[in-house]
Subunit: 240 residues, 2 copies
């Protein structure tokens, strides 16, 4: 039974964290929004009155009758099935890292939308500049130093965030860093010097055969300014 | 073996979602920050170089050698042990609701800190007024209509968010609404008229013997302006 991924069309967005896991595992899935009538089906599930516990927002995963909302929750569900998470209590560590990544993603989003999600970026540019500066100066190094330390303190060596094998959190870490490079090329120019373990993890993920094939395929959409990771040069700044 | 809850002292904050679950289940737990030297022990775990996969931020739960970070993850771990979550796939629905609650909590926090967590509220009051207005006008009704609809569409009746029995998500829903009443008394004045099922859920949770005893105890700290739910009258507004 194929997994059905429901997410907005034309965006990497939060859906991309799920796609990377499905692609790495070569799991059968349908990206519903890319099917004819797919976006309408997504809204039907969200807004219809027939669904017990409808999702608040995309992405969500449908597998049989079960509908699982939220990236971290979807990966929690998929993790053991796709062999991308441990089955013992270490799964709570992987999930914890994923939730920290989710918090970082929200903070990246808020660099261009600090005041209201209902307004365009252009309507909140001044506030965005303040928030993006605080993000680059304080929050980004706080998160990245933390993730670098997680790799450093992994008793199995620094090749993975948790344990001695690839997990969905490693794939998501790649996606966040890739997005940060797109959105903030000046702030991340010396990323590899500042965070060598994270940079090596990213390279290792990108070089995995299934991920490399996916990244080169048409299924991998590009970054753009309708998404979470947006390149607005005026929000970027050099980091020494 | 008692659960150890690590969180900042003197705050309900995110720790309170965990406390409510532990109190409802009458589970043995130690609120570490309230013990002598507790805060130092918390920082040791977070900042020490000996911990595999240290937590990024409080709250976290220590149970034996396992350290579980993030409210939703802690409740995921505790849920089946405390009989506050189903053991079948419906656990992903409960976790999904909890993650939507977590997103709401972040948005509440950002009403008073829209630009930078490193600055005081007083340094970002103007932006806070814009964000709080958008929150009250757009985001709060979007979230609350959604949660009301989750109750309405529960095929087991509208007494619980998921299924036919109390879960940790019901307890967390109570906590959010309680906090919103404190932070935004004018915006929530007609809460019971607008969201009758949610109001009834809150009353039912508050009336549960273990929760009622907890709320009346010294263990329940008050709301205050160092926390997520802050009462700044200038950010509040009447909702018709």
């Amino acid at each position: 039974m194929a997994y059905e991924l429901y997410y907005w069309d034309g965006l990497q967005g939060r859906g991309e964290f799920v796609r990377l896991a499905l692609e790495e595992a070569q799991a059968p899935y349908v990206d519903i929004a890319r099917e004819p009538g797919g976006s309408a089906r997504m809204l039907e599930i969200m807004d219809g009155d027939g669904e017990p516990c409808p999702p608040f927002a995309p992405p969500f995963l449908k597998h049989g009758d079960l509908i699982v909302p939220h990236v971290a929750n979807i990966l929690l569900y998929l993790g053991p099935k796709l062999h991308l998470a441990p089955k013992d209590d270490a799964r709570f560590l992987v999930h914890g890292v994923q939730l920290t990544i989710a918090d970082l993603v929200t903070e990246v989003h808020d660099t261009h939308h600090p005041l209201s999600t209902g307004q365009y970026y252009e309507e909140q540019k001044e506030a965005a500049k303040v928030r993006a500066t605080a993000f680059i100066d304080e929050r980004l190094p706080k998160f990245m130093r933390y993730f670098e330390r997680v790799l450093e303190q992994n008793p199995h060596g620094g090749r993975h965030l948790v344990g001695d094998a690839l997990t969905y959190a490693d794939l998501s870490m790649f996606q966040v860093i890739d997005g940060l490079h797109y959105a903030f090329p000046r702030a991340t120019k010396r990323f590899g010097e500042h965070y060598p373990r994270l940079a090596a993890l990213c390279d290792a993920v990108a070089a995995r055969p299934n991920i490399a094939a996916y990244l080169a395929s048409e299924r991998r959409g590009g970054h753009n300014e309708s998404c979470i990771f947006r390149h607005y040069p005026e929000l970027d700044k050099t980091v020494r």
